[in-house]
Symmetry: C2
Subunit: 336 residues, 2 copies
DNA sequence: TCCCTATGATGAACCGGTTAAGTTCGAATG
DNA sequence: CATTCGAACTTAACCGGTTCATCATAGGGA
């Protein structure tokens, strides 16, 4: 391996016949460098193939130009089935790329990795941290904020931690979905709720409850964990509890697909016998049988917004809202 | 924001009553430090909450403890439909995490981002670079290798670039799939091929061709780009060209699902009229109607292996193979 | 003519670690 | 008892940039 020696500022300076300081100013596009010198320096830079050493730069500027995105442990488990985190990554990636920042991905969840993340951020490896949908009342975001590290969460943090976040209008989306079912004449509307240690799970269940209450209709709840498998199981237990139910709202698309499978196995027609609505609007929901009616949440946008907010925080933007809530929208297809 | 000043080595040293060098040795777990002193230092570290500054450390060690994973531009487009890149990320992530390395994600493809990636790597921001399935004969991996940067590719590089890589046995997998169709008595076996500027596309088509030739059966090819939509379109054109075809091998699961949809629309039963086999074995293929027979490739394993190989390269492991080819396996379900 | 002020370049301190070379000191050796 | 040696620690150089205080030079005004 021919590890070519990388030229340093010093060498560029020598070649251009100026001082290190001047080269630094040219490289950083500073003003007040005579045109002639600037050219000479640029020529030397090109000839030597000079690229500034990031570590040296960070050491003095205290900036790394990179941002961490923390995924919960569950991402590991669910990744193969779930399209949520990839979309977050994509959205954040695009935004950060535009700002010339790097995206560092970390999995967290276990106590060990928890500590790792904290040390990593504190070591000054990144300029800020984004948390993707956490479980429970995770203390880590708050801890980092207290240490003076810019942080943003996806999903309103549970437990009242005072951390800026980006979220979507779960409640409104669910209300629209349930009202759609009610308007369609459904009387026995059940729900497959998500994990009750995540805002997404909590708020969607709350939306279901409030809307049915408002409509004066009975409620029936089964619990899932956002995965297809859990949706299938939950649907079975709902059918057993109330064979006459005529609609179900699932708090995630994957659970809705599980529910579709369970209904098919139980010989129910969708939407004739039972209407089904999901939440997410993943690509695959357009291709299910029948195509899934669902609440669209702008996941990639969420990633983008998180990145944008975090960049604002890092730059000390004064007029930055603590929270941004993105709209959701009911997408009506054939399943309800 | 209370940006608490982070303690430095100097302060720890002062508190422990020793020199900077000694603290450094304790922190790095070096030998030859008397137990008493070691304890005193550790106490000081804990009391002050000292965490080494990574930039300073990198500056002298020339190591950053992080690794870049480069995704092709298409990842952006396809991400919402595709489960390939997430699995690669997950696999690599797990392995790197175990080695206490960080994963930096970058999108490349455009000329601009190309340059960005090169500069980033050369700036010493990462210790090595992994490329996820590239299009065409990308010169970037070769360039980085020449610059002395450890590199590994997923998928044998096109154009004979001498870059170490990890790939799967496309040919063998496809051969098994096509033989399965032949053994099932299929006589008119078409294929939906992947992009011919990617090894995965090329090798899978080659496997189809060779195996059919061996069986003395006629060939028929349509081209897709691995997405569901392209699979649907390709299937339609295949049906038009040969309404009597009785089997199709799609070079990706998503294209196979598109094909299933096209066949359904055309009134063909699967597998009775037309047998379908895909390639990937994504989670969703277990839940399609009918469940998809497909060639499983160990994607997460590929990510893991890439990471492992790269770490070996970085550590100068002498007995490192240039190429690793992982096995594929036919998974028979109901579609063929 | 002389002094003052921009303008542009330079020298040197500094960021926070690592590590080679040097120092100290007590135990072992001849 | 003098000498050698090795363990344990300190000193100081260095990594490669940024930036502030300083300085040189040319131009303008009194």
């Amino acid at each position: 391996m021919v590890t070519r020696e990388r030229p340093t500022l010093e060498e560029v300076a020598r070649r251009a016949g100026v001082s290190r300081a001047t080269v630094s100013r040219v490289v950083n596009g500073s003003t007040s460098v005579a045109a002639g010198i600037r050219e000479a320096v640029n020529r030397a830079v090109d000839e030597l193939g000079y690229v500034p050493n990031q570590a040296a730069r960070s050491l003095v500027t205290q900036r790394t130009e990179s941002i961490a995105l923390i995924l919960p442990e569950t991402a590991n488990r669910v990744f193969s089935d779930d399209l949520f985190f990839p979309a977050i990554i994509r959205g954040a990636g695009v935004e950060l790329e535009a700002a010339d920042k790097q995206l560092v991905l970390m999995m967290a969840g276990s106590a060990r990795s928890h500590d790792r993340v904290e040390r990593y951020a504190v070591a000054g490896h990144v300029d800020g941290v984004m948390f993707a949908s956490m479980h429970g009342a995770d203390p880590l975001p708050g801890t980092l904020v207290r240490l003076g590290i810019p942080v943003i969460c996806s999903g309103r943090p549970i437990g009242g931690a005072d951390v800026p976040y980006v979220d979507v209008d779960h409640f409104g989306g669910v209300a629209a979905a349930v009202r759609h079912l009610v308007a369609g004449g459904r009387k026995r509307i059940a729900t497959i709720a998500g994990p009750q240690d995540m805002v997404a799970g909590i708020d969607r269940l709350a939306g279901y409850r409030a809307t049915l209450e408002e409509a004066g209709l009975p409620q029936r709840t089964a619990l899932g964990d956002f995965t297809r498998e859990s949706g299938l199981t939950a649907m079975r237990s709902l059918l057993e509890a109330d064979p006459a139910l005529d609609a179900v709202f699932a708090a995630s698309d994957m659970m809705a697909h599980g529910a579709l499978a369970a209904l098919r196995q139980a010989g129910r027609r969708v939407p004739d016998d039972v209407a089904v609505i999901g939440f997410d609007d993943f690509e695959i929901s357009r291709y299910s049988d029948p195509p899934l009616t669902t609440v669209r949440q702008p996941i990639a946008d969420m990633g983008r917004t998180m990145a944008r907010q975090l960049l604002g925080l890092i730059n000390g933007d004064p007029a930055l809202p603590d929270a941004v809530v993105l709209p959701t929208e009911l997408v009506v297809r054939d399943s309800a």
